[in-house]
């Protein structure tokens, strides 16, 4: 059983369309330069013009958890499941599966890996060894 994927809504249509074609993109506000992932009106300046640009794919863990109860059959045989919220280097955050050899920690560096889920793609993030 494959993991559940959200249906795009109006604000996230661009993000998911790009992702499904293998690109992690942010939407940059043409007025104030704030980067968003899913947006209709910029919450900083009220602007409504956005331009898509590729995200670097790097980020840090904003928060994370290891789930010990499976509520969906796709996760039943991979407990504990590690998931959380990643802050992209461009600023916006998103929920994402987390994986890798390193232990997750708030502030730890991660790098995106786009994984196919049937005819869609998901942005998962691999923990990378810290530079120090």
């Amino acid at each position: 059983m494959t993991i559940p994927m959200p249906e795009p809504d109006l604000a996230s249509a661009y993000f998911f369309a790009a992702l499904d074609q293998g690109r992690l993109e942010v939407l940059r506000c043409g007025t104030c330069d704030t980067a968003h992932l899913s947006v209709l009106a910029c919450d900083v300046c009220g602007g409504g013009d956005f331009t898509g640009e590729p995200a670097s794919g790097g980020g840090v863990i904003y928060s994370f958890t290891k789930l010990h109860t499976a509520h969906h059959p796709a996760f039943a045989d991979r407990l504990p499941v590690c998931g959380g919220i990643v802050e992209l280097d461009e600023g916006p955050r998103l929920f994402a599966p987390l994986f890798g050899e390193e232990s997750p920690a708030i502030g730890a560096r991660v790098l995106v890996e786009l994984l196919p889920v049937e005819d869609r793609m998901i942005a998962a993030f691999r923990l990378v060894r810290s530079a120090e």
Partner: protein, 393 residues
């Protein structure tokens, strides 16, 4: 002092509140309203307004406006569903309070019912039903984050990281709250919780363990709201709604913000304290929405009782517990050890304390009680300050 609504809670009714009840949510709701009217010394025919609390987390979507017909209520002046996720109960009470204040109805019943537990089955998945979701928020399910515990685990993890704390602070909350539940015959878990029991329990979503999570039950709660001047000759001591407020932060999911820890209590507190002229130090008891043990800590800080990362002091050495010497918190056992009927759980306990009807767990000072509700992942918040009738006439 601006003053709050001219409204009081004059009746309280419960139905179910256990894991064996197999009645539908609609029937439990009907029974709770009948019980609340009787408690107020009224027949249901006196009710001229009905507000049903709805949340998308509730398991039975059947509870609706037709509760009016099930109760045989004629000529209602208000019939409304209040939807504010976990904050729906206080949102409903606010609607009722404003309506009676404005003279647009006289006797308004607010009711919540839910039946997440299938009698005889395992509890684990009571609130973890299959979901796919929509938009960016729906990605939580792709990440495996089902159920409220998973997202409040993110709050707890972040709270620890920011303030250099660990699971010990959550164990203090769980153990102290259980000590209150031991004194409440309606509570689900009444056996004292030791530090060993707490840490031996399985993880649900790290760092949250079993006893960091609410105790689901099947049941319903209803309250009757009326104008203050009418409340004076009720069957029960009136519990006045001194102030009511909401606070919904809308925190961006972006660098520089902290959505998992930004609590709407900071917004509601300004309105509540301005309306009553009270300060946090003048609150006798807090009844917080504690579906997860991290929530009272975040609530105490949002309401200005403590600075960021310092709320653990409220629970140190069981201060918030029975005979602990500090401000009593969640004196019925809360959601954690009492029962999870969303926003109504803290309301029930506040009304009982304000009436002086809380039995063995009755607090000496119960003149001003802060009650809070939280919904979403700290997206929606409502708070009220209740006053015992003899002190606030």
């Amino acid at each position: 002092m601006r003053g709050g609504p001219n409204a009081s809670i004059i009746g309280l009714g419960r139905a179910g509140l256990n894991r064996e009840d197999s009645r539908t949510a609609a029937e439990l709701a009907r029974q709770a309203v009948i019980a609340a009217a009787a408690d107020a010394g009224l027949t249901t025919a006196a009710i001229d307004g009905l507000v049903i609390c709805r949340t998308s987390g509730a398991s039975d979507a059947v509870l609706g406006l037709d509760l009016q017909r099930a109760l045989g209520l004629r000529d209602l002046k208000l019939n409304r569903i209040a939807l504010c996720e976990g904050a729906s109960a206080l949102a409903a009470i606010q609607t009722a309070a404003l309506t009676v204040s404005a003279g647009m109805a006289d006797v308004v019943a607010c009711v919540f019912a839910d039946t997440p537990v299938t009698p005889g089955t395992r509890m684990g998945a009571a609130f973890g039903r299959l979901k796919t979701g929509v938009g960016m928020e729906g990605l939580r399910y792709s990440a495996g984050l089902f159920g409220g515990a998973s997202v409040y685990a993110l709050s707890a993890q972040r709270y620890f990281a920011l303030h250099g704390l660990d699971e010990q602070v959550l164990s203090d909350v769980a153990i102290t709250t259980r000590a209150w539940a031991a004194l409440n015959p309606e509570a689900t878990f009444r056996k004292p919780l030791t530090r060993e029991d707490y840490f031996a329990a399985r993880y649900i979503a790290e760092p949250l363990r079993l006893f960091d999570c609410a105790a689901p039950v099947n049941g319903a709660v209803a309250v009757i709201v009326s104008r203050r001047d009418r409340a004076a000759d009720g069957a029960q001591p009136a519990v006045h709604i001194l102030a009511s407020a909401e606070g919904h932060p809308g925190t961006p999911d972006r660098h520089g913000f902290d959505r998992s820890l930004t609590h709407g209590g900071a917004i509601a507190a300004r309105t509540l304290f301005e309306a009553t002229g009270l300060s946090p130090a003048e609150i006798d008891i807090c009844q917080f929405y504690d579906a997860f043990s991290i929530m009272p800590l975040v609530s105490l800080e949002a309401y200005g009782f403590y600075g960021p990362g310092e709320a653990r002091a409220a629970y140190a050495e069981g201060a918030a517990g029975p005979g602990g010497g500090g401000m009593p918190i969640n004196t019925g056992g809360g959601h954690l050890s009492g029962y999870y009927l969303q926003g109504m759980t803290p309301v029930v306990e506040a009304v009982l304390q304000a009436r002086g009807a809380a039995g063995e767990r009755q607090c000496e000072r119960a003149g001003t009680i802060l009650v809070t509700n939280d919904g979403g992942r700290l997206d929606y918040h409502a708070g009220i300050i209740l006053g015992a009738s003899e002190q606030w006439t």
